[in-house]
């Protein structure tokens, strides 16, 4: 559906990416300055790549070797710019109708009305963009892009200009609109959860390169590398040493603890013994062991460790605890070794505010090994 190979060199930055997608909705995720917006600009024909090829559906929009470079205005795509870039001198209605060229006046009015209704903009047609709230501006930008019924929709940080409470609501709305529209979409964001909610496939960028492109769930549970895990701001990305690796299990040593992790036979990652290995543990999957139920049972509790809560933060419905292992030596993550998340209720029942020393376990399926 979408196939992209791009090379573009600047004095201080170069972009060299290739990815394709059969899924309709793709997110480009990565830190700022990693080339995500530049990719959109190349897709839209606003920046000409030095080399490469862009194919949307059956149409080749750019092919350096074949000297194809379709002009922006003929590419039939909708671009929602970061900050929206609405025309300040035109009304909402005129903004939405801006791309409807060579269409009869009555048809234009009809189309603007349909779009307004779909996006919940009725009654705002005669207002200027500066009179609108951030959420309304976002929808006008979306309406302007969709009014021309493009083959591809490009969204550049569509939610970043909004306040947090509104953002949540508009994220749901945007998800609905994107699903209803049902044509290819490329979304640029630095927010992984936004990408996860809106998109089927996620392409991770760093320094002008693609570090992973995968369906969203695969990316969430099997990041291809430590770099990807860090870009996705996964907590508890740790480094240990391999003891033994089989297609089913990987045994490793971390901070003096022998840990066992599940390996993926599909991936067949078999690092040799004594080699360094990166892995991550999701904070919500670390289990504190209750002290009123006797000793830890090795059948139920694997990868058992002991440590002290050295920092904590109340996040409302959950608590984040930062635990330092009893093991001597410098902690893995600055002042602590492991970040653990517990529900508020659990925090109260266990009396964690008084009792700071805990035994805890991590299921082997919750230790995710990151291939080097």
């Amino acid at each position: 559906m979408l196939s992209i190979r791009l090379r573009k060199a600047f004095p201080d930055f170069d972009l060299d990416v290739a990815w394709d997608s059969r899924e309709p909705v793709v997110a480009l995720v990565g830190p700022s300055g990693s080339g995500k917006t530049l990719t959109l600009q190349c897709l839209a024909g606003l920046v000409t790549p030095d080399a490469g090829q862009i194919v949307v559906g059956e149409r080749t929009l750019f092919d350096a070797d074949a000297h194809i470079d379709v002009a922006s205005r003929l590419r039939r795509l909708g671009y929602v710019f970061q900050g929206y870039a609405l025309f300040p001198h035109l009304t909402v209605g005129e903004n939405i109708a801006f791309g409807l060229r060579g269409v009869a006046k009555t048809r234009i009015a009809e189309r603007v009305e349909r779009i307004s209704e779909w996006l919940g903009l009725q009654g705002l047609e005669d207002k200027r963009p500066r009179e609108l709230s951030g959420g309304q501006q976002q929808r006008v930008a979306l309406g302007r892009a969709l009014a021309v019924d493009p083959d591809l929709l490009l969204l550049d940080e569509p939610l970043s200009a909004l306040d947090a409470p509104l953002r949540r609501q508009l994220r749901d709305d945007l998800t609905r609109i994107v699903r209803e529209w049902a044509k290819p979409v490329v979304l640029v964001t630095h927010d992984v959860s936004e990408a996860y909610q809106l998109c089927d496939r996620i392409v991770v960028y760093e320094h002008g390169r693609v570090v992973q492109a995968a369906p969203r769930s695969e990316l969430l549970w099997q990041p291809a590398s430590e770099t990807v895990a860090r870009i996705m701001s996964i907590p508890n990305v740790l480094r240990g040493t391999v003891v033994k690796a089989t297609p089913e299990r990987i045994q490793l040593i971390w901070r003096g603890q022998a840990l066992e992790a599940v390996n993926s036979p599909a991936r067949a990652y078999l690092p040799p013994p004594d080699s360094p290995i990166a892995f991550f543990v999701r904070p919500e999957y670390v289990r504190l062991i209750r002290k009123d139920r006797g000793r830890a049972d090795p059948a139920h509790h694997m990868n058992v460790m002991h440590g002290t809560v050295v920092e904590e933060a109340d996040l409302g419905t959950t608590w984040t605890l930062r635990i330092r292992l009893d093991e001597p030596g410098p902690p893995a993550q600055g002042a602590f070794d492991l970040e653990v998340e517990v529900p508020h209720l659990v925090y109260e029942i266990l009396g964690i505010d008084r009792d700071r020393h805990w035994e805890f376990s991590i299921h082997r399926g919750s230790i995710h090994v990151l291939p080097g």
Binding site: S72, L77, G78, F87, H89, F98
Partner: protein, 217 residues
Amino acid sequence: MDWFPVWLSVRVSLAATALTLLGGVPLAWLLARKVPRLKDLLGAVVVTPLVLPPTVLGYYLLVLIGAGSPIGRFFESLGLELAFTWRAAVLAAAVGSMPLLVKALQAGFEGIDPRLEQAARTLGHAEWSVFWRVTLPLAWRALVAGTVLAFCRALGDFGITLMVAGSIPGRTQTLPLAIYDLVQANRMHEANLLAAMTIVAVLVLLLGVGRIARVRY
């Protein structure tokens, strides 16, 4: 009291402003594009009328349009004599006012968020349509400011006009030249009247347009 120079100056300044707009708008647009080398060279050339002695400008303009030059001969064959006619005064005033319009408008164009023009392109608009429907409307205050400045500058041109149009009473003697002649002839009352009128007219124009269009110069 001879009012001819006043009416001549108004007509010449209007024509010169129109000419300045015709050449200055595309020039300002070109300068606002990110074309590195062209921008530096053209940018320098455009401001020269502000800094060169009017006699130098007038001299070269005269060389360019004089009866002996190809341009002069071409217009003469059409029955339009240029040198030492009111047409030369228009050209002289246009040369003097060009930099004011171009600089004001260039700043206006450069102040436009480039994404607005890009948005128009992705929405199917060709370059000329982007210019008419996005660029120019968004720079209209700069356009008004530049036009008013250009008109006022045209009204006041002395040196270039004298070089290429002369100061022929009843034919090419514009307001500033008439004031000079009156002072030379020691007709101070009349000179005073015309000078005061000029100041008042220019101030009213600048302030009036500034207020109505909320323009800052």
